[in-house]
Subunit: 585 residues, 2 copies
């Protein structure tokens, strides 16, 4: 049975199933959300207005039997944060269930009655529009719990109070296997788009669904075997490998050593307290406290990398999952805070309120620079989440993210591109990631072209992070491969093994060819990725983006970053080269 | 003695006098501020960062003996509100004194020591950098009073608390002949740029200054006579004419009749309470209360139009000056408030705090739409100014203007172009002004191309406001003529007589030719204006503006505006025609 597009109209509370039109037939995941956004959303529309839409899609292989670490769900829209196209993807339970219901994509559109909120319950039999009055105002812990009481073992996609307020740092939560709101399509404020549609939560129950059709099972199985082997062989992703042992927080010490760990609103690349908030430190606490705490946790069924973790409180009860490297950095080092217990509590607040941790931590750091608090004041910082919960004006400022906070406090050192704040890698010390920040259609985003792999981790060769040379090409290749991977449903972390181990790359491509029947080989990854990037760049151009938006913030060109004491030196001409091909032919 | 450029460096507290370079020699007022902004400010710089500058210039004829209604001062910079080039001009005392000191322009640049504030005292002998610690935190009433105690009869340019906070609705105040802060270079947040330079106030004392050299006194006098006669003959500008009798608020009833008086955040073009806040109503109160109250007030020496007013309290003591049409509209009708006493008090708050009244009223209206207050709640609205004074987070939101307030309250009906809110003319009911809002390099601004003259007031012919036809050309002609007038130092209100009475136009040109020695005639006004517009548009392009920024907000294309029940129908192609000439040849 061919997949369907499920279109949900919040004006009339009507759901319709449509055949997938030919123009979208090749796409899934990010490729499909971006294609739909480009075809159906006016780039000039207001992100919170009646003409924006939220598009949800699983990847090509998501939901296929035994495809390793492939449970991603893509969310696409015009972003309230950047004003451009956005794809943000998440782990958790939703991707596989959407795929197994035979849905290529879900499009949520239309304008709800004022102050009316709904939970959409999607099953094989259709969509039920349930009154969500009882969930409004609640954080995601309570929402997930309430919905599992009624719909056990389902996937729950939801927004916290921040999405209800339609603020531009509202993320979209996806529950994990323990039904905790630890997985987020965090970036770009897509939770506000969901809020503008009057949707508080989406329950996905795939019971009795048709499942995922496999076009060529032999090819699929062959690919799956190769890919699985590669994952299991690589030092970062194997069983008991670095990611399973320390989580993504393994990067804290590594980045700090490299002088690329942004500290106190990007004023240094070294944090004196890094050791106390490192993956090693976290693993030690988790081991000591025991109980429900664990490293090597899987965010969705079938993940064999298991980079996630459950951080326990002193009694061993689960406090929060997961504490990622970028979260530790944003809430910790970037605010001058070296207290992992604070970071755990603040992360839980973000997960509950529906905030992207990267943008939230950056916003707090900017408020510190603007004089609201001292850097390092973890007690004061924790209280700020109460402001957000109580919807105070201060909470409304902070929950919009960095640009809004900077403007409210008159700060001009603003580490954003296209309105979105930079993650945990200092571009003055690691030039390739700076090119990605500057040029990706998504706004400053490490996951859009993770050149950290060769620049820091030594994956796919070793490249000098401080050198400008070749970084435009390097970033583009990573951006293109990532756009492809974001369409596959695979977790970005398979990139490490597939770049280092050839059979992994081939296997990944074979699984996609096997599931979809597309005639693709190893060399098609980057060209297909570029097709996606081209769609996205053209949407942004129609929305008014120019090369002036492909720039790092001014202060990084003027202020030297210790310890390397470098400024950003990659020229505008070099940055403009990254996407010049979009207008060729 | 040729004029000089006075360059003031706030890093080293140094002032230097420079010869006017050839490339700037033709320009004055807006033409000169825009030329300097284009030549010296990186369009990519952060508006509050170390590389932005504030440029101040009087017009061509300002300070010349007896030039009628010619006391404008232009302020130019990269705008914190729009992110583009900005020129905002004001009446008051400063223009004539700057001119009489022989200064073509003042450029304020460099970065002050943290939390260090200065008053710049500019005399014929140079610049004194006075510690302004005693003025910091004070409103403009107190600042003006304190500085006249020390420097009587001087011009005082200053910023209120909003400029100190570097918020994007910070205006720049200029004192009037009674030393009250009623005159503002309000729009675009230039007060925040002054704040970022650490300048609280600028005192201009022209005692002993060289005065303005007149190149051809006969021609100048001839022009002055013709222009003065035209002003004195025209129904709007003559002695006891409409502007002197009712102030600009004469427009309240007229615009309301025309269905173009935006009400409750641009949801209607008719306000049921218009009569209570009209110019006629105000004039009646002023006459009844008497005392210091007056209509027909001049904002600077030598104004013969006298559109300003002094609104008295019940005891006859001056409460505020001036209450303009746009102010009445923004704080009144647009918030659903029909209480002129509230409007007077709120205007005083704006003048004291250093807020543009148009942006402030719009921000309150948006907050009302976002649920902070009910429309019409004047009591609640007045308290919001306390929030700004106390620098609360809510105050910080509101004092940034409309875009920030809309984002904080999740509102998508946002009446802005290029980040700046629309003034008191509904573009769905008056199409030409909509073209001006959409396309002027300044962001939504009526003074940039006041097509209201033919569309509503019947000046320079009569054009149907509801028709789309010819509005692109009409707006461009007005925008160009305005850019010229903004460079002359004449008040924009001479436009009425000079467009209707030919000798007025010729006289205006002759005065400029007479003062400057430039060989220009009647037909040079529009071409010279276009040169200025071209500079400004090119700056904005380098700052990243595209045709996507030349659009009215989406909701005006979708929602019908009562009573005419029109949507905005002028096509994007038509809008793009307005400035297509910039790239021809």
């Amino acid at each position: 049975m061919p997949k369907k597009i499920l279109r949900i109209d919040m004006t009339d509370l009507k759901a319709t199933y449509e055949d997938v039109p030919e123009k979208w037939a090749r796409w899934a995941g990010r490729g499909l959300t971006s294609a739909i956004v480009c075809d159906e959303i006016d780039p000039a529309c207001h992100p919170l207005g009646p003409n924006n839409k939220l598009v949800i899609s699983s990847g090509w292989v998501t939901g296929s039997p035994g495809a390793p670490s492939s449970g991603r769900t893509s969310f696409g829209s015009k972003s309230p944060l950047t004003g451009g196209i956005k794809e943000s993807n998440s782990g958790g339970l939703s991707g596989q269930k959407i795929a197994r219901l035979g849905l290529a994509a879900i499009i949520i559109e239309g304008t709800p009655e004022k102050d009316k909120w709904h939970t959409l319950v999607i099953t094989k039999d259709g969509v039920a529009f349930e009154d969500a009055s009882d969930l409004v105002g609640k954080g995601m812990y309570a929402v997930d719990e309430a919905l599992w009481k009624k719909y056990p073992k389902t996937a729950v996609i939801g927004i916290g109070p921040v999405g209800e307020m339609k603020l531009s740092n509202a993320g979209i939560s996806v529950n994990d296997t323990e039904n905790k709101p630890g997985r987020y399509a965090g970036r770009g404020g897509l939770g506000a788009v969901m809020g503008a549609r009057g949707v508080k939560a989406i329950v996905i129950d795939d019971t009795g669904g048709p499942g995922v059709e496999i076009a060529n099972m032999d090819l699929y199985k062959q690919g799956r075997r190769s890919l699985t082997e590669a994952i299991q062989e690589h030092a970062l992703t194997k069983k008991d490998g670095a990611l399973a042992t320390y989580g993504t927080a393994v990067l804290v010490n590594i980045l700090n050593e490299a002088g690329g760990f942004p500290t106190r609103n990007f004023s240094s690349g070294n944090f004196e307290g890094a050791g106390k908030i490192s993956g090693e430190a976290m693993a030690e606490i988790v081991a000591k406290r025991g109980g429900e705490g664990t490293m090597g946790h899987a965010c969705h069924p079938g993940c064999i990398i298991k980079c996630s973790n459950v951080y326990p409180d002193e009694s061993g009860k689960a406090l929060v999952s997961a504490i990622e490297y970028e979260t530790i950095w944003a809430l910790g080092a970037n605010c001058g805070i070296d207290d992992i217990e604070y970071i755990a509590h603040a992360t839980r607040e973000c997960n509950d309120l529906g905030l992207d941790t990267i943008e939230a931590g950056n916003a707090i750091a900017i408020a510190m620079e603007g004089g609201l608090l001292e850097f390092g004041d973890s007690e004061g910082a924790l209280k700020l989440f109460d402001d957000i919960r109580k919807r105070t004006p201060l909470g409304r400022i902070l929950a919009q993210g960095v640009e809004a906070t900077a403007k409210a406090f008159g700060v001009h050192r603003v580490p954003t591109v296209k309105g979105q704040s930079m993650p945990a890698y200092a571009p003055r010390a690691i030039k390739g990631i700076g090119v990605t920040y500057a040029t990706t259609p998504m706004g400053a985003d490490h996951t859009s072209g993770y050149t950290i792999a060769p620049e820091i981790a030594g994956v796919s060769g070793k490249v000098d992070p401080l050198s400008d040379e070749g970084k435009a090409d390097l970033s583009l290749t990573f951006q293109a491969a990532t756009a492809f991977l974001d369409s596959s449903g695979y977790c970005l972390f398979i990139a490490f093994p597939i770049m280092d181990i050839k059979k992994g790359w081939t296997g990944m491509v074979e699984t996609i060819a096997g599931v979809t029947g597309m005639d693709i080989g190893d060399d098609d990854v980057v060209p297909i990725g570029k097709e996606i990037l081209k769609m996205e760049r053209l949407f942004n151009e129609r929305a008014g983006f120019t090369s002036a938006d492909d720039r790092l913030p001014e202060f990084m060109l003027n202020e030297k970053l210790p310890p390397h004491n470098n400024v950003w030196t990659i020229s505008n001409q070099e940055l403009d080269k990254v996407y010049e091909w979009v207008h060729e032919n």
